[in-house]
């Protein structure tokens, strides 16, 4: 009997009389799952281990390139830990947004690691793989965020492990309770909180968290003893990376938190009730895509010269113009050169008036060009002319810049941008996110 069949059978017999325990193992699998809290979570006999593996926060590079954001060794260690934990307890393991961005190459790399672990450990299990059939574009990786209905299908098919492409982080945790007959409002609200592991606690952290869901609401308890889930810390978590603390939009509906209440069970545990689920008349899916925009090379240098710093804006423009004349003698102006001057405007998106003169500034030059050699040519030429650029009142005639090391020009590889980020009406979610079953 598969893990999902066993758990669903158990809750079918319990007929609403027993709460379900969900272990939120990690807010982003592949950055390390602290073992003490995870082991403490396993001792509480959870009915599901859920792990979110991805996010759009990391920018367009990973989605565009197909690379994992996490290190291979750390990813393998985390996957081994959660896989062994779930199989030992004979409970389902659900992993969403496989391989950071959840596109086909990310999913394939994640599955390959899982198969490798299974071979090494002599494990056998039934794995549901949720794919993404969102429009395929040769110039870009495009993914749609699947909701809980995709995971519900996988669990109903009888599996031990579910690995999904890009998915709503909530769906990973809400699907099993939904299939097992728990109310969707509290299940989704619980999911929204535990997908970040113990981040909803004070002090917040990455340790595993246990949620216990019943027919009315749920209780939260971090598996790290120093982390306390308090009513205010849990309520405040609804702000996290959300544009509206009262509403969470999901493909299959909308979660209304305006009447949710939070109260302390003791100084480490909080109980939450009152979330209401409103099913959507027509589901929608959030689509994300990233497109290659060129090759990136950068220049890293600093200055401590007060005269150079005072006039840096004009000097950078002058050098840009000299470089343009040189590198475009026999080629089109096919690149973009961008400056970020740290100490002045490297971080803030809105201009700030500087009150005191700067002691030092760090200059990051960035070129995006059609090819790697072209980007390198632009930053190398820029480096040399910026170093030796003469100006009125210059005292340091041997060089304007300090290089922390050489080469200070670095080719950093392909550059991407999000070219798709919108909502798509989807009448047939099952067709959009097909399920494949694999016996490992």
């Amino acid at each position: 009997m598969t893990a999902s069949a066993r758990i669903l059978d158990h809750f079918s017999k319990a007929n609403g009389s027993e709460p379900i325990r969900i272990l939120g193992a990690s807010g982003q699998l592949g950055y390390g799952v602290p073992t003490p809290a995870f082991s403490a979570g396993l001792e509480r006999k959870p009915h599901l281990i859920g792990c979110d593996m991805g996010s759009i926060d990391i920018g367009p590079y990973y989605l565009g390139s197909g690379e994992l954001a996490t290190a291979l060794a750390a990813t393998r260690r985390d996957l081994r830990k959660v896989l062994l934990g779930a199989l030992k307890l004979k409970i389902p393991l659900i992993i969403g947004s496989a391989g950071s961005a959840g596109a086909k190459p990310h999913l394939e790399q994640t599955l390959a690691i899982i198969r490798e672990i299974a071979r090494e450990e002599g494990l056998g299990f039934r794995m549901g793989v949720l794919l993404d059939a969102t429009e395929v574009d040769a110039a870009a990786n495009i993914v749609g965020q699947m909701g809980m209905s995709a995971f519900q299908r996988a669990l109903a098919a009888g599996v031990d492990v579910v690995v999904a492409g890009r998915a709503c982080d909530t769906a990973i945790f809400a699907a099993l309770p939904a299939v097992a007959g728990f109310p969707i409002g509290p299940a989704q609200h619980m999911a929204k909180i535990i997908e970040c592991a113990s981040l909803c606690c004070v002090p917040g952290g990455r340790d595993s968290i246990l949620a216990t869901l019943d027919q009315e609401g749920f209780e939260l308890e971090s598996m790290a003893p120093q982390r306390r889930a308090t009513p205010v810390s849990v309520a405040a978590h609804s702000l996290c990376e959300q544009s509206d603390p009262f509403t969470v939009q999901e493909p299959e509906g909308r979660l209304d938190l305006s009447r949710a209440t939070y109260h302390a069970l003791d100084d480490r545990r909080t109980r939450v009730v009152g979330a209401v689920w409103e099913e959507a008349r027509e589901p929608w899916v959030k689509i994300e895509g990233a497109r290659h925009v060129g090759e990136r090379a950068i220049l890293l240098c600093g200055t401590a010269d007060p005269r150079f710093i005072a006039r840096h804006e004009q000097l950078l423009q002058e050098v840009e113009s000299v470089v343009r004349d040189l590198v475009c003698e026999d080629a089109a102006e096919d690149y973009v050169l961008t400056w970020r001057v740290y100490g002045v405007n490297g971080v803030r998106m809105t201009p700030v008036t500087q009150n005191t003169p700067l002691g030092e500034a760090f200059i990051l030059g960035e070129c995006i060009a059609p090819t790697r050699p072209r980007a390198a040519e632009v930053v190398r030429t820029t480096k040399q002319y910026l170093l030796h650029h003469g100006y009125e009142g210059r005292l340091s005639t041997a060089g304007n810049l300090a290089f922390p090391f050489t080469p200070p020009e670095v080719s950093v590889g392909p550059a991407y941008r999000f070219n798709v980020y919108h909502l798509m009406r989807a009448s047939d979610l099952d067709a959009l996110f097909p399920l494949e079953i694999e016996t490992v």
Partner: protein, 100 residues
């Protein structure tokens, strides 16, 4: 008093690649009330700090979390060439010196 001396948390983060959200969280209900009543954290005051139109800014008071949430559109999409803060985690500083 400046916001940085009253608030427990002043943070920013992307809410999707097109917007960032600023969360201001207070230690006590009294501090929260003081901030909401001062009208320092309203769209008309926030918009010029971020160089955006007043009606593009959303301010949501969230008493359960003793928090004020502000949503501001990003002038450049996260990770686009020329972006300065892909995660949007360092765009909170214009709020720090607001007089409450």
């Amino acid at each position: 008093m400046q916001l940085q001396d009253l608030a427990q948390v002043v943070r920013s983060k992307n809410a999707g690649p097109r917007r960032f959200t600023l969360d201001v969280i207070f230690r006590s209900d009294a501090d929260y009330q003081r901030a909401t009543q001062s009208e320092a954290l309203i769209a008309e005051k926030i918009a010029p700090l971020y160089g955006v139109a007043v009606d593009a800014v959303t301010v949501i008071n969230y008493p359960l979390g003793r928090a004020i949430k502000i949503v501001v559109p990003r002038q450049i999409m996260s990770g686009d060439p020329g972006d300065r803060d892909v995660y949007g985690a360092q765009q909170h500083t214009p709020l720090l010196r607001l007089e409450i």
